[in-house]
């Protein structure tokens, strides 16, 4: 094992992994984080805390992770390149490892234009692939990006994101291969609604043997309303929401749409589980953490194995 991560142990044991997502509050309210962590506990192997998602100021990922860890969960810090240069990134890597956090997801980050401080200066000193390599070199070579050595390395299980749906489609697998070569241990994908396209992407992943080098967690999420589905289809860059998904939600009475959204999520989990090379799911019930226990149970993914307490 490279780290103390529970997620790493679940994946190495060959178990189908489940990770969840905890949206941190736009305030210093620790109770919200604790409440959400309690909902996720026992239903996920590890949980992500987003890092200023959509470029909106929220509680720092590492801080909410630490609160969740106090509730007995294995946290995954999300770290974006939008707000930190290579100096700040490496300092945070050392800090989160020192706090006992075992997992980190390396992201480029949503552009500041989309957030609540659009006049902010973006940093983007390094990109997500360079960040993966930087953390890998820190962990495995005990080297900073500049080449200098450190005494105690940050033992982090390194994650990266992949979007099987964005253009250029053929290049998306090549980009995944770069993330793997850079040192990613696990991948969490963009939310999947177009299962056929995801399956096509996974075939290209298998053709390159990438599924044997990295653990791929398929991104899934329940949809609460028809409006939310339409919003994701038309307004969220890099999302692929087929018309059939919207039609399915439109086909039930209004008061049953959220229930149908949960069922759709369960169905997608069943489908992606059948695809060779999928090592688990990343369940993003954004601001709907209450849906997680129901989905995980109905998908037959309980009880969760527990390796690290």
């Amino acid at each position: 094992m490279k780290t103390q991560s529970n997620l790493e142990r679940v994946l190495e044991a060959g178990q189908f992994a489940v990770t969840g997502e905890l949206g941190p509050p736009q305030s210093a309210d620790s109770e919200i984080v604790r409440r959400k962590a309690k909902i996720l506990k026992g239903h996920v192997d590890a949980f992500n805390v987003t890092d200023g998602q959509t470029a909106v100021v929220r509680m720092a990922s590492w801080a909410a992770c630490l609160i969740g860890k106090g509730e007995g969960l294995d946290p995954i810090v999300q770290m974006t390149c939008r707000d930190r240069n290579r100096i700040a990134l490496q300092m945070d890597v050392l800090g989160i490892a020192a706090l006992g956090i075992n997992n980190m997801l390396c992201l480029t980050g949503d552009h500041q234009k989309f957030g609540n401080h659009p006049m902010a200066k973006g940093v983007y000193d390094v990109d997500s692939i360079q960040l993966v390599k930087m953390v890998k070199d820190m962990r495995d070579e005990r080297k900073f990006q500049c080449g200098e050595e450190m005494a105690v390395e940050p033992r982090l299980f390194i994650g990266a994101a992949a979007n099987p749906f964005a253009d250029p489609f053929e290049f998306r697998v090549a980009r995944l291969a770069k993330k793997v070569a850079a040192g990613a241990d696990f991948i969490q994908t963009q939310i999947i609604y177009n299962v056929d396209k995801f399956a096509e992407w996974m075939k290209m992943v298998r053709d390159r043997g990438l599924h044997e080098k990295v653990k791929i967690l398929a991104g899934v999420a329940p949809i609460k309303s028809v409006g939310a589905a339409k919003y994701m289809k038309t307004r969220v860059p890099g999302m692929d929401v087929p018309d059939s998904v919207i039609e399915r939600l439109q086909g039930v009475p209004k008061e049953q749409v959220s229930k149908e959204g949960i069922q759709l999520c369960i169905d997608i989990i069943d489908q992606v589980r059948q695809i060779e090379g999928v090592a688990g799911i990343h369940l993003m019930a954004i601001e709907w953490e209450e849906a997680v226990p129901e989905i995980v149970e109905a998908a037959g993914l309980l009880p969760r194995p527990r390796f690290v307490t």
Partner: protein, 243 residues
Amino acid sequence: MNAQVQKPFEEILGYLEGKERIFLMGCGGCATVFHTGGIKDVDEMAEKLTKEGKEIVGKIGLPFAVFACYIPMSSMFLKEHRGEIEKCDAILMQSCGDGAQAVRGYLEEEMGIVKPMYPSNNALGFSSGGPSKFKEECQACGECELGRTAGICPLVQCPKGLLNGPCGGTTTDGKCEVDPTRDCAWVMIYKRLGKFGELDELSEIQEPHDWSKAIRPRSLEVEPINLLEELKGTKKVIETLGV
């Protein structure tokens, strides 16, 4: 070229408040192309300021291809107009900030003339194209990446400056999430490399960019060119082109 636009006239007048005798200077380079400091633009500014009650004690409209920022050229004109410049209360520079500061420095350090100097333009930086449409393509970072990015600079064309391929926000029709009217820089790079059959190059992990080359202010020393010889050469070439 250094793209530029003129400041609002009210802002220019604000700078010149209390300054009655004004000296104007334009630029025969970028400012001429962008209509912010060509000979005609200097004349127009003189007329407008006169209407506002200012006295124009002198003006330099530099001929096309004579750059205010290039001292061997602009200094010839400055020396010629020494008397007028000495009489003025303020100089209005119709150039980019480069031209303005080059002239300010030369006047002060080489000609011993210390006068308030104000800009009439806002410079927008390197841009290419013309005669009417221009776009930003190079940010003069000091460490050119074009050799590993198919001749398209992602530090400029990608709002996130990514060096290892597109982010997850590229729209399904290959547009940029930050500005969907623009092509994703990495889709352009991908397509271009495909034309050469060099898509394999994209599998190489590119190291972080060396921003130490962009630490400001930068300065440089070179062997001077022989200006008159160069101009003669240009004249000859233009004649052969039949322009």
